[in-house]
């Protein structure tokens, strides 16, 4: 007679690891100034609004900027290097956003350099953040392909590559995709930022299709963000544009956050992305403080 041997249960295996670990996404570009920090702040806030528990990590050590995009520069006590070197507890260094309790932020050190955090330290830092129950960790990567890039990508399991629809930025994005693969970060997602629909329509500038075509199948588009003055004003105010219902770029970032969570959201195209010239009716409505959509 067969003796009942309890089969190795799946539940038991799961009880060892946390039942569901969060996602760790590094935001990179290669070329500087294409919108990594803006993207990190905006997607982070949009994910928090959607109910995710989000930690944003500024890995641009020596060139701290994410604090400004988030409007949290006055609340910094400890930074990423303080945590890694054991001078501060992770929990006391993470700054909780007052607008949305789901959002937390770990600033970069401003007076240290890119070698202050090693790839191994980054990995264990990210593991510690996940252990706090965060469902998304977004890492704002420094520009370039040197040590800072290697450190910032070390703890990530997914990557977003930000590019502008412009030759040198796309070229660097292609390079970064190759380097990400070498770090075992496959299936990078692409964001085309600062699109100028009018210039694309008049054949003066590269469009999203051109960028996708030259970069090839290896990168999947996850968002198109138009050039939007509201990004500048929102950065000036320290209020991510994704909180602004009327900003086009804000809407684009909210859509990206939804796509990251697996929702199927159509891409903004052509005329959706163009700032509408206010027509007569719009002006009339504006006069009475009504929005005409």
């Amino acid at each position: 007679m067969a003796i009942e041997v309890p089969a190795p249960s799946a539940d038991k295996d799961n009880s060892i690891a946390p039942d569901k670990t969060g996602r760790v996404i590094v935001i990179t570009s290669g070329k500087g100034g294409v919108g990594k920090t803006t993207t990190t702040a905006n997607i982070g806030m949009a994910l928090a609004v959607l109910g995710e528990k989000v930690a944003l990590l500024d890995a641009d050590i020596g060139l701290r900027n994410l604090d400004l995009a988030l409007g949290l520069e006055n609340r910094i006590v400890y930074d990423i290097v303080d945590v890694v070197e054991g001078r501060a507890k992770l929990r006391s260094a993470l700054i909780k956003d007052k607008r949305n309790a789901n959002l937390a932020f770990l600033p970069a050190a401003q007076t240290r350099d890119k070698s202050a955090v090693s790839p191994d330290q980054m990995k264990s830092l990210v593991a510690d953040i996940l252990a706090e129950g965060y469902t998304f960790v977004l890492i704002d990567c420094p520009a370039g392909i040197e040590q800072g890039f290697k450190n910032a990508t070390a703890g990530a399991s997914e990557a977003i590559v930000v590019t502008n629809p412009e030759m040198s930025s796309v070229r660097d994005a292609d390079r970064i995709v190759g380097l990400l693969e070498a770090q075992d970060l496959h299936n990078a997602k692409l964001i085309v930022n600062r699109l100028r629909p009018k210039m694309v329509r008049s054949d003066e500038a590269l469009g999203v299709a051109d960028v996708q075509e030259v970069l090839g199948q290896g990168v999947e588009l996850i968002g198109v963000v138009p050039e939007d003055e509201r990004i500048i004003t929102s950065t000036n105010r320290g209020e991510p544009a994704s909180l602004d219902e009327t900003s086009l770029a804000g809407k684009a970032y909210r859509n990206i956050a939804r796509r990251l969570r697996g929702e199927d959201v159509p891409f903004l195209t052509g005329t959706d992305l163009e700032e509408k010239e206010p027509g007569f009716l719009d002006k009339l409505f504006q006069l009475f403080g009504v929005k005409n959509n």
């Binding site: 030759m167 070229r171 292609d174 054949d203 590269l206 051109d210 970069l215």
Partner: protein
């Protein structure tokens, strides 16, 4: 290019098309270029294998990446002085 393209300003040599074509070319080069230290190592490794069987003129031995359109190939120029007797 049709006459409609001309009317609607869709030129083959629009800034957008020029940018796309230049980008396509430069990415092809970037992707297929092998870093110099790795080329050196490949050269040394190939030479080591060949020298087991052949008497090679090392100074004239040369490898290079060649491109033709989409295709990329590694070519080698291997001047043989003589075939070592044990190889025959």
């Amino acid at each position: 290019m049709t006459i409609f393209d001309r009317w609607f300003g869709k030129k083959e040599d629009s800034a957008k098309n020029v940018a796309r074509d230049r980008l396509r070319m430069v990415l092809q080069q970037d992707r297929s270029s092998i870093p110099a230290p790795i080329m050196e190592k490949i050269r040394a490794d190939i030479l080591a294998v060949l020298c087991k069987h052949l008497d090679i003129d090392e100074r004239e031995f040369d490898i290079a990446v060649e491109r033709e359109g989409e295709a990329v190939a590694l070519t080698a120029n291997i001047p043989i002085r003589r075939i070592r007797p044990e190889a025959a």
